[in-house]
Subunit: 213 residues, 2 copies
């Protein structure tokens, strides 16, 4: 089924879910695609098209039932269950990730964290005792972990990713400043603030050019 | 000019630039679109199409001059200049951002940082003295800042973004877990690890479904 659904559609679903939850918190029971569009910043036509991949939602002239659609999207996205997650790399960024408050309410539990630095290994961060990275593959296999967060330097990331995938990891949230290649059955999302800044300066430079011309 | 160039094309340019730099570091002077494709994980046809938006690059049968194309992309992306950047929010994440080593080599200099917490204001992080957030608008105007990084909680992000835009900010790297609306002349890139995880669990759930069916 998922083979036919474009990645961009899937990437908009969490946004719709967040908007629906905000509407629910404001005690709104029914919402039109127009109003959901205002809330989520997506055109109503796009919303209707995106949702049509997953079945029939909403009633003509009535709009969507906020709670029902939120529940359906939660299920479609696999968020009706808890996901144990491991972290590789407990430097400054890794520590910020370990104490980030927004993972747990969404069902993502960091259950263990690994580092190669003997000074860091054995210390506690956010009630997790950091393990040596040599134990990461065994841990993944023994605990059936499918999701890893990577906060290691760029030079060590590629080798580590290969190991993680071999051990059974199927989804990687990658903070290392590289764009790694992974097999087709492995999901990867790269978080790269420099890349994000670089796509924006294109527009800023252009503004400057226009101003001078 | 930029109006005709799709965002997805612009978002791939930093990736090409990174690949070209890696090739240059390996002393490779000329590269085919096929080899640049292997390096960057994009199809050769897509690379040629993307680059064609910006002019004529490479010679038939010779490929691209690695250094010349890297220089051109650097200029196109506005990375041939330094960009002063301000940070709003110096909690744990903000501190990790302030000490992140990869901004400066790419020309992004965090020149000041702001927080609303009186305990944090006045302290030094990475040789920057944290200022009270009340001074942020004045600072932006006086120093012609165009880029802001936002690492504040979701509830305070929307109001702050409105202020920043009014003071002259034109590009926002947003770590707050919201999807804010900004005017058309303002760029925004959202870094949202929960959203990234949620798009991946869709595929993991699907795998599970297939296994059970």
């Amino acid at each position: 089924m998922s083979l036919d659904i474009p990645d961009v559609v899937i990437e908009r679903l969490p946004q719709y879910l967040r908007s629906l939850r905000a509407l629910k918190n404001r005690n709104i029971a029914l919402v039109s695609s127009a109003d959901l569009g205002i809330e989520s910043g997506v055109t109503p036509a796009q919303i209707r098209k995106d949702l049509s991949y997953f079945g029939k939602f909403g009633k003509q002239g009535q709009g969507y039932n906020v709670k029902a659609l939120a529940d359906d999207l939660t299920r479609i996205l696999g968020l009706d269950q808890s996901w144990p997650v491991i972290l590789a790399g407990v430097g400054r960024l890794g520590k910020a990730i370990l104490t980030y408050p927004d993972f747990t309410p969404e069902g993502f539990f960091i259950v263990s964290a690994f580092d190669s630095d003997p000074v860091i290994v054995g210390t506690d961060v956010a009630e997790i005792t950091i393990r040596p990275v040599e134990q990461i593959n065994e841990y993944i296999k023994e605990n059936n972990i499918r999701i890893a967060i990577l906060a290691v330097p760029g030079e060590s990331a590629s080798d580590l990713i290969d190991q993680l995938v071999q051990s059974g990891i199927r989804a990687i949230l990658n903070y290392a400043p590289i764009t790694p290649k992974v097999p087709d059955n492995v999901q990867i999302q790269n978080i790269d603030p420099v890349h994000s800044l670089q796509t924006m300066t294109f527009h800023l430079s252009d503004i400057t050019l226009n101003t001078n011309s």
